[in-house]
Amino acid sequence: MFKYYLRRAFRDREFMFWSLFFPILLMTCFKLSFMPVAMKDIDFDPVKCAVLTQGEGAYADEFQSVIAELSDEEKVKTGNLGYDHAIVSLVSCASMEEAEKMILEDQVEVVFLVDATSQRIDVQVGESPSTTSLMVARSISESFRRNYTLVQETMTVAPERMEMVMASLSDSLSVMKAKGTFMGESTNYFYWYFYSTIVMGMFFNVSAGVKVVFDIQGNLSGYGMRTSVSPERKMKILMTAFLSRYVLHSAVTFLQIICMNKIFEIPLANRIPELILFVLIGNLFAMSLGSMFGLYAKGEQSAREGQATGLIMLSVFLSGEMIVVLPGFFEKYCPIINQINPATIMNFAFYRLVFYPTLNTFWMNIIKISIATVVFLTLAILKLRREKYAAL
């Protein structure tokens, strides 16, 4: 029976696409889209740039110091960015008029206009800038903006970690933003997309939970009826159906994580037992949530799978899968969303697992998800144990 349930799961094309290929496809897109932003594997001459500031404040000062350090060959070399030359070549410039003139004369490729008051950085370029110069300039300004926002978010969310953040930030700012900061540890948003994709892949398994329920519930499907009238114990069938999907889906998640690490070169912490636990809990949560939809939602199997997947997509979206700053935004304005959104909880758990020296918050997040899983599973089993139905 296990063999056939496993075979069924394996031949489920929809599952294979959404749980295996789609996340890998997405990771490939992320790699292609964001790698230039991370400024890896690209060789270029230092970009000739000037910085003009408006107003005074830490924002402008820090940006200028970052540019100064990126123009320092020695600091770039020692900053573990992967380049053996300066990233920018800083040209002194006093006014916009002078900057425009320098651009026309090709003395400067890029001008950063930093508004300290509104904390905004505009990138000014000539009529036909080189793609590399433009990309590098935008990467620098964007990375600076992200990291600077993070400092402020940390002050709001976890002020006790501020000292660590500042120490880390000054270091990361000095080498710029392939490795930035996040909640106090050296990393960057680039990785967030990948971890979020792994969580999304796991959560797509809600549909497996719906399928398991339909496989054995006599009031939901014909084959459920068939199994219900057979002499096989219902709980045995349930466990077999559940376990077969669970084993396959967990294996798929491990495969994705290996791909992420080996092919896309995204770091993983050397915390294998915790990582295994993370994958097992994540998949179990998704399947238990799916079985709730299978039992309590309305409509045909596809409709229930659609509802479950829709909820998961929303959860994943709110966790920053597409807009990476969303969790930070919620931390600031509506922290409850991050606290109850399972995808955010799992993303943070993964993130902390990889980058944090201590795992207190990781365990806290895992416990939260485990509690929800236990509740869902208990409710599901209570209903699934029934062998007679009120209606068919």
């Binding site: 056939y4 499907s221 068919l392």
Partner: protein, 312 residues
């Protein structure tokens, strides 16, 4: 013949709706019992109650003398079910589907292998063994559906409308298969709203409507329960009102219609055709053709319930 299934005073309500109303029946070993009724009459509900799938409000059900409950695993082992909808796994091929469902009953691999092959042979799906269900035609799917329900050689088999949406050729194959199963010793409970199938297959028939048992017996017994026994149609021209009245007033004649070409006469038991022809010939009419039809189950149903089986 021993009694395989007994249902006494079964009542099943869905809130205000009474789906099965004080329904009783017995099924004897080796017979084909048909539950005949329109869609929604309570046939499937009755079967689901017997299979201990549905909670019911009152009544008593025993299978081979034992109460049937969800935990009657020893009884369930002897039962096979062919559900109304094709209930097979799309991801498994024909062989795997049959093997999976047979595996719920038979644990021994060698025995199961033999039984699965026998089931495949029985439904003649040998050349489709490796096919997934979506590649099978409707009729072949139905046969696969049957194979999944009978592979473990059950003593009692429930067929819940197994020929719905099936082409005539496949339907005949299915009906022949069911007859063959009975010959092999299986007891069969067959639900349908196709009266021709029921007439062809069933040893006994229970007519059911709105959850109530309307009548029960063999085909002949059921036909004998109604007044109308024969429909006589005579192609004849120019029959006068007076002669029509004469025919209508004859013994055993219940109803006469005439459209100028065809005389339609509903008659009871007796030598009706001869009598009607005698009246017409005496009046000098030239009879072109005479047709006589025996009553069908639809007539039985119509007379007992006041509506046609295929009204629904």
């Amino acid at each position: 013949m021993s009694e395989m299934i007994r249902v006494d005073g079964l009542v099943k309500r869905y809130k205000e709706l009474i789906a099965v109303d004080n329904f009783s029946m017995t099924v004897n070993e080796g017979e084909i019992l048909a539950l005949l009724g329109p869609n929604g009459s309570g046939k499937s509900t009755t079967i689901n109650c017997i299979l201990a799938l549905l909670e019911f409000d009152a009544g008593n059900i025993t299978v081979m003398g034992k109460p049937m409950t969800p935990k009657s695993y020893d009884l369930k082992r002897l039962i096979g079910v062919v559900p109304q909808e094709v209930s097979v796994f799309e991801e498994l091929n024909v062989y795997e589907n049959i093997d999976f469902f047979c595996g719920l009953y038979i644990k021994d691999k060698d025995e199961r292998k033999k039984l699965v092959q026998e089931a495949i042979d029985f439904v003649e799906l040998n050349e489709f063994k490796k096919f997934r269900p979506k590649k099978l035609s409707g009729g072949l799917k139905r046969r696969l559906n049957i194979a999944c329900g009978i592979a473990h050689k059950p003593k009692i088999i429930f067929f819940d409308e197994p020929t719905v949406a099936v082409d005539p050729q496949s339907r005949n194959k299915i009906l022949e298969g069911i007859e063959e199963l009975r010959k092999q010793g299986a007891t069969i409970i067959y639900t349908s709203h196709y009266m021709e199938e029921v007439e062809q297959l069933a040893d006994r028939i229970i007519v059911i409507d709105k959850g109530q048992q309307i009548a029960m017996g063999t085909l002949d017994e059921l036909k004998s329960m109604i007044k109308k026994c024969e429909m006589i149609r005579i192609e004849v021209k120019g029959v006068t009102e007076e002669d029509i009245k004469k025919i209508a007033n004859a013994e055993n004649i219940y109803h006469v219609e005439y459209d100028g070409k065809m005389l339609k006469i509903e008659a009871g038991k007796g030598n009706n055709v001869v009598e009607v022809i005698r009246v017409l010939e005496e009046s000098g009419y030239r009879i072109k053709n005479v047709y006589s039809e025996q009553p069908t189950l639809n007539d039985v149903f119509l007379e007992l319930t006041g509506k046609e089986l295929r009204d629904e």
